[in-house]
């Protein structure tokens, strides 16, 4: 017999991650869809299986790992950090030092992924804990400025440490997503080249996609569990009211430091994966813009929620692509005839020196580049969400759900 909806007969059932049938079914469906994406079997969603989209979705998965980390620090513990890109860089360069080829002049020890990937997280976490005591003593805006300093220091070190980074504007190749037991020639599993898995043909991109999504799912579970247990509550209590939290027995300094360390661990893993997936990365990649992207993810997605970190990542990774497509479409309209063309012309430049809000001709003529336009859009969205929807995309999702459910007046 089916019981009353949402009547839990044990606290265990209430506290389970997927405490409603709807959640279980939805998650099952989602996993099924994700698993079939590269095979392009679902009509209407088959475009997601193109190389282009697999790349975007894989990048989203990588960003999810980093965003979950920043969410723990900023969303849960309430410490705004602009230093996330720095810790991602630390992760990436740890990975390349340990996992890069052994031939000089670049640093590299040729070690396998099961060493360089965890190490990327651990080294980032150690540096996080090392600089943490300075950072966690200051609050709010001051913390943002201190962590901003980290990005500039990192930028300087990465650009000038040629044997590690390959040099400014040059960069180097990062260790690929290949699984070796040790330093053998042939990898045991190669996630970058096509092959057959269980009798099915899979492309290299599809393999990386599966690996990265799996990693993102694992980190999502870790973050979600952390959030709903003792340490997660300690983080939130500090965010909500730090002195009261201390009087309740939460060691404010210790937990801020811990939040810094765990967040940096996630960032390090994310940075290493990003570099490995992109293959060749220049040291300028780990700049302030990357940090801002992560702040945007947290704020647009919804601070303090795991779902928000995922939605925000998808949004921020896919936005440039959508903006790019839209600009192209505008250009084609502008080059056409009639009234639409005149309007589009205001917004987009059709020749290098034409006036337009957006100018796709790199570095020349008036107007914003597509990258700058993205930055402006992030900025506007952050402000918009902060003012109108502090819970971000997650809040919008809640509203949609509430519309159907009358939450929280359920029984």
């Amino acid at each position: 017999m089916r019981g009353r909806p949402l009547l839990y007969t044990s606290y265990q059932a209430d506290q389970a991650l997927l405490n409603t049938t709807t959640k279980k079914v939805m998650l099952g469906l989602l996993l099924l869809v994700v698993a079939t994406i590269p095979f392009q079997v679902i009509p209407g969603l088959d475009f997601l299986g193109s190389d282009d989209w697999l790349r975007l979705l894989s990048t989203t998965a990588i960003f999810v790992v980093g965003a979950l980390g920043l969410n723990l620090l900023t969303g849960l513990a309430g410490q705004v950090s602009l230093g996330h890109a720095f810790f991602m860089g630390v992760g990436a360069y740890t990975a390349v030092w340990l996992g890069g080829p052994e031939d000089a002049p670049l640093l590299g020890l040729g070690l396998p992924i099961w060493i360089w990937l965890p190490a990327a997280g651990i080294v980032a976490a150690l540096i996080g804990v090392a600089v943490g005591p300075t950072a966690v003593r200051v609050r709010g805006l001051y913390l943002a400025i201190v962590t901003l300093g980290l990005v500039f220091i990192g930028d300087y070190v990465f650009r000038n440490w040629d044997s590690l980074s390959g040099g400014a504007q040059v960069g180097r190749d990062f260790p690929p997503l290949q699984f070796r037991l040790w330093k053998e020639e042939e990898p045991l599993i190669d996630f970058t080249t096509p092959g057959t898995w269980f009798g099915v043909e899979v492309s290299g991109l599809a393999k990386s996609f599966f690996l990265l999504v799996t990693i993102a799912v694992v980190f999502t579970l870790l973050a979600k569990n952390l959030q709903r247990t003792r340490v997660g509550r300690a983080f939130m209590s500090i965010r909500d009211r730090d002195i009261a939290a201390e009087i309740m027995g939460v060691d404010e300094f210790g937990y801020k430091l811990l939040a810094f360390g765990i967040s940096s661990f996630f960032a390090g893993i994310s940075g290493a994966l990003l570099a490995s997936f992109v293959v060749r990365v220049i040291p300028e990649r780990w700049d302030l813009f990357l940090s801002v992207q992560f702040i945007a993810i947290i704020l647009i997605g919804g601070a303090g929620t795991v779902t928000g970190a995922i939605l925000g990542s998808a949004f921020v990774v896919l936005l440039p692509r959508l903006v790019g497509d839209f600009t192209q479409w505008l250009q084609s309209v502008a080059l056409g005839e009639g009234f639409g063309s005149a309007i589009a012309n205001v917004f987009v430049a059709t020749t290098p020196n034409d006036f337009g809000l957006v100018n796709t001709f790199a570095g020349i003529g008036p107007g914003l580049s597509v990258a700058q336009l993205n930055l402006v859009i992030y900025g506007l969205l952050i402000i918009g969400f902060l003012i109108f929807e502090p819970l971000g995309l997650y809040g919008i999702w809640l509203r949609i759900r509430n519309y159907w459910k009358g939450w929280p007046f359920t029984y």
Binding site: L222, N225, T229, R233, M248, D251
Partner: protein, 275 residues
């Protein structure tokens, strides 16, 4: 109140090796020359309901902050079971068994009632970040055990219907109760209540008085009560300390304090003036 918390009372009542549970000795505290506390001493014994009263600005809240080691007094000592608390961090006073509510509610507004109470359990739980994030058997068990304790407290305080709401959304009187619940969740030996009925109507005040007496009687928790409401204090306190301008002016049973001329002058005098 049901099982789990009462059990703790039995565990606590062993032979004791100290004279007083809490002892505040000649505390002086000044903020940039402004004297907030000028030589206050008192003690609280196990299971006792000790009240501190005095006009606004008398230094009562500051005394709590000294006990919690939020403020560092220029002079004096605070002893817990005979050992000095001086130099500890606030969270260490909580670990020792001192719980507290605040004059201006200091709940965690974005967390639900359950989460607030579970945060009160923080000092009684062990799960580390590592065990928590992999949701190992032990972490899960601890989570469920503590959820049961928290539900006991929710039943006791009659706030079942609010349990899953973010506390920031709840009415004032309910928030006051949740705050008491969070302090109880710490499973303390001393509960410090800073004006628990301030701003409450008569009915809410009576409910709160009942809860406080239950805490003392059934759970055997010592209570250190700061209150502006003279009536409540006279009704429920075992002993009373009266402070004015940071100085103790009388101490004793409700009857003796009530008739003390100093008190009539300082405390009731003010009342008359403000009428």
């Amino acid at each position: 109140m049901s099982g789990k918390l009462l059990q703790r009372r039995a565990e606590r009542s062993g032979p004791k090796s100290y004279e007083h549970l809490l002892e505040v000795k000649d505390v002086h505290l000044a903020f940039k020359g402004v004297k907030a506390i000028a030589g206050v001493s008192f003690h609280v014994d196990d299971g006792e309901l000790f009240a501190i009263i005095g006009p606004n600005g008398a230094g009562k809240t500051s005394l709590f902050n000294v006990v919690n080691q939020v403020y560092e007094p220029q002079q004096g000592d605070v002893r817990w079971k005979g050992e000095s608390l001086m130099g500890l961090k606030p969270n260490q006073t909580a670990e020792r068994g001192i719980a507290r509510t605040f004059q201006n509610i200091a709940l965690f507004p974005h967390m639900t009632v359950i989460e607030n109470l579970l945060t009160g359990r923080h000092v009684r739980m062990r799960t580390s970040w590592l065990a928590g994030s992999v949701w190992l058997g032990k972490a899960k068990r601890e989570e469920i055990e503590n959820r049961e304790i928290v539900e006991d407290i929710i039943d006791f305080l009659e706030i079942e219907q609010w349990r899953k709401y973010p506390v920031g959304l709840l009415p004032y009187g309910i928030q006051k109760r949740v705050e008491l619940g969070r302090a109880l969740a710490m499973d303390p030996e001393l509960l410090m209540l800073d004006e628990p009925v301030a701003g409450m109507n008569l009915e809410e005040t009576e409910d709160m008085a009942r809860f406080i007496l239950d805490v003392q009687d059934e759970l055997g928790i010592a209570v250190l009560l700061v209150e502006h409401d003279m009536g409540l204090v006279m009704d429920i306190a075992d002993r009373i300390l009266v402070v004015d301008f940071g100085k103790p002016i009388a101490e004793g049973t409700p009857q003796s304090v009530q008739h003390n001329p100093n008190v009539v002058k300082a405390y009731l005098g003010e009342e008359v003036e403000t009428v």
